[in-house]
């Protein structure tokens, strides 16, 4: 991991990617969060190793191929594990397109696809062919909400809003689980869920309580728009993993370690601070959104005069 200036990296990517493809690209993950909160980062930089690039609309394989070809043509290099396969099947054997910049090994970009409404599995691989062989574009069902309310940077590239990234991370972990990051951070192999759920807390911390209150309607709208057939499940189980996470001191400590080298570096945020923010997120967002979805109410109804969801 290295400290990256998100503004510079956005500018670099905007320059590297074909302009006609900008409208199909959306930066997500730690780089997007770092860009959004750039003025509040220590040293105006964030420790990250990858720049996730979400390609949309869903299933747009051609844009993925064109982007990869363009970057490779500019001297971007495949990571060592980014190896072309001879055949598109089985899709699970395909490798993700992970490209290093021409003169640095400090970070890489990874191409991902926006999932379509029909995707049922949590993760799906879409084959894409380059001259040397086949690669895979992963799409994660939880990231379907990323398409909602994208923000545009001054450099011209779109990026995911913190509200939607938080929601995607919430959906990605219905339980804390046992999967751990392959590379240690701060001497610990962190729980994958703690890293992602911890990012929700970091973004909520930086946004402030008044700001996150605005996420409620956006979450409700995004869930209803992106997962119309999952109302019952969401009403009952949205945030189950998050609640478990808040109740686990070890997971919260992993989150603290992760946020301390990331978005909240230098701010001295403790486990108690994170837990308190988590309780606010639960009370201000998760519970009200569950209730609104359960009643089949949408954001417009929530804003109508005389109609107040009970918080």
């Amino acid at each position: 991991m290295m400290a990256l200036d998100p503004v510079r990296l956005f500018a670099r990517l905007a320059e590297a990617l074909p302009r006609k493809l900008h409208r199909h690209a959306c930066i997500v993950g730690s780089l997007a969060a770092a860009y959004h909160f750039r003025t509040r980062l220590r040293g105006l930089a964030v420790n990250t190793k990858d720049a996730d690039l979400l390609v949309h609309p869903a299933g747009d394989v051609r844009s993925c191929r064109d982007m990869a070809a363009q970057l490779l043509g500019l001297g971007w290099r495949r990571k060592s594990d980014c190896v072309a396969q001879e055949h598109p099947r089985p899709a699970g054997s395909l490798r993700a397109l992970r490209l290093l910049p021409p003169r640095s090994d400090g970070y890489f970009i990874e191409l991902m696809g926006l999932p379509n409404a029909r995707q049922r599995g949590a993760k799906r691989w879409t084959p894409v062919r380059l001259p040397e062989g086949w690669y895979g574009i992963p799409s994660f069902r939880c990231m379907r909400v990323i398409g909602e309310g994208r923000l545009r940077s001054r450099e011209g590239l779109e990026y995911a809003s913190p509200a939607m990234m938080a929601l995607a991370n919430l959906l990605a972990h219905p339980e804390v689980g046992t999967q751990r990051m392959s590379e240690p951070i701060g001497g610990r192999r962190l729980l994958r869920s703690a890293k992602d759920l911890g990012r929700i807390l970091a973004m909520a911390w930086l946004t402030g309580r008044e700001g996150t209150a605005e996420w409620r309607d956006r979450w409700t709208h995004a869930l209803q728009a992106c997962f119309p057939g999952r109302r019952t499940e969401l009403a009952r189980h949205l945030g189950d993993g998050f609640w478990e996470f808040l109740d686990r001191p070890d997971a919260l400590e992993d989150a603290r370690v992760s946020t301390d080298v990331g978005l909240l570096a230098g701010k001295g945020v403790t486990v108690d601070n994170l837990r308190a923010v988590g309780e606010q997120v639960w009370s201000d967002l998760v519970l009200p959104v569950r209730r609104m979805i359960s009643r089949g109410r949408n954001a417009n109804e929530a804003r109508a005069p005389g109609v107040r969801p009970r918080g």
């Binding site: 402030g208 309580r209 403790t270 601070n273 308190a276 309780e279 606010q280 639960w282 009370s283």
Partner: protein
């Protein structure tokens, strides 16, 4: 110069300045004289001396602090014994700078002092004897009825219920309500008639309360002499919950206030700086350091579940150095005496609770300015 039933100005004015707190201050060498027109017992005397002792510790440049009071029920021997106990208890550098003048039934008592102090004592005693004789005539002149013979029994200590009654009387003074029926004081404070009577007598003895012929009572002026004692005892009697934001984020009292309004907690009123801005048009403070809320409750251990609904990140503070975001003060008298404001969108605590909140936040200048503003209003 403020009116008082026992005024030190004829003795001190010229050599001392009258402070907004009611104390007299001589600048060079700096010497502070505090008047308590009546100390019902040794508890109040000790409280008064303790406050001055603390003042001396906080202000090393103050050369002396003197407490002047009237205790007709104690003997000089008892006072001497009390003074000896105090000397053993306090630091020598405090005792050296602390002095006491007590007007007793038989005369005046003070611990041994230098010639300057002895002369001061005699001057004060002479002035005291002159003023007490004219005090009752003055009350009769302003229409508060014929001077009453006050009971000679020793007044009881300042209990929570008596303090409630005194605060209710002061609320009516702030409101400019004029004389109030004793039955109304009973209803509003929730006290019994004997307790209200005791409170009334206490203030009559200090000359800070008057009666009309139809069983109504009122404070003719802000009770500046008793007020420091009420404040000191309120600090121990007032039950408050100090809450900090455990999220570690920068404080946002305005955001919290909006949520508090939206929550509409029954029996809850906003006090502190927010209410002070309503009560005092000249209130001078930028920003909002914290939210003070007065919660009118029937029992002393109500369930503060609404705090969790307001903000689950709020926690009781672990030590006094932590700055609270929200302080909830419990009010247990019979009637809340809150005031709706802004078309009932906001419920405000009464001016007395508001003043106590300001003092709790150490906004002493602002509290004193509010008192002076109302004193001018009531005089005009």
């Amino acid at each position: 110069m403020r009116e008082a039933s026992f005024d030190l100005a004829p003795v001190l004015g010229g050599s001392h300045d009258l402070l907004p707190t009611g104390d007299w201050l001589k600048r060079r060498p700096s010497e502070l004289i505090r008047l308590r027109t009546s100390c019902p017992g040794f508890r109040e005397l000790r409280a008064g001396l303790f406050e001055l002792g603390t003042l001396l510790l906080d202000q090393p440049k103050l050369s002396r602090a003197v407490l002047v009071t009237h205790m007709p029920q104690v003997t000089p021997r008892r006072l001497a014994a009390e003074w000896e106990s105090l000397k053993r208890l306090y630091r020598p550098e405090v005792v050296r700078r602390l002095w006491l003048v007590v007007f007793t039934a038989g005369g005046v008592w003070s611990p041994p002092g230098d010639q300057v102090l002895e002369l001061l004592r005699e001057d004060l005693h002479q002035e005291f004897r002159r003023q007490v004789g004219s005090r009752q005539a003055k009350l009769a002149r302003v229409g508060w009825g014929a001077p009453r013979e006050l009971p000679s029994e020793r007044p009881g200590r300042l209990t929570p219920k008596i303090l409630d009654i005194l605060k209710v009387l002061l609320v009516h003074w702030f409101r400019g309500d004029g004389p109030v029926r004793i039955s109304q004081i009973i209803d509003e404070s929730g006290a019994t008639y004997p307790t209200v009577r005791e409170a009334v007598i206490r203030l009559e003895k200090t000359g800070e309360l008057g009666r009309t012929s139809n069983r109504r009572v009122a404070l003719p002026d802000f009770p500046g002499q008793s007020w420091p004692e009420w404040v000191a005892l309120s600090r121990t009697l007032r039950r408050s919950l100090y809450l900090v934001d455990a999220s570690g984020r920068p404080a946002n009292p305005s955001g919290l206030l909006k949520r508090l309004h939206a929550l509409r907690v029954p029996g809850l009123a906003v006090g502190g700086v927010v209410a002070a801005r309503h009560w005092s048009r000249d209130f001078d403070l930028n920003g909002l350091p914290r939210i003070d809320a007065t919660w009118h409750v029937a029992d002393r251990n109500p369930d503060p579940d609404w705090i969790r609904r307001l903000d689950p990140a709020l926690r009781s503070r672990n030590h006094p150095q932590e700055s609270p975001q929200l302080v909830v003060h419990y009010l247990t008298r019979a009637q809340a005496l809150f005031t709706p404001s802004g078309g009932a969108r906001e419920i405000l605590a009464d001016p007395v609770e508001t003043l106590l909140d300001l003092l709790d936040v150490r906004l002493i200048d602002q509290a004193n300015a509010m008192i002076e503003e109302y004193r001018k209003k009531r005089r005009s």
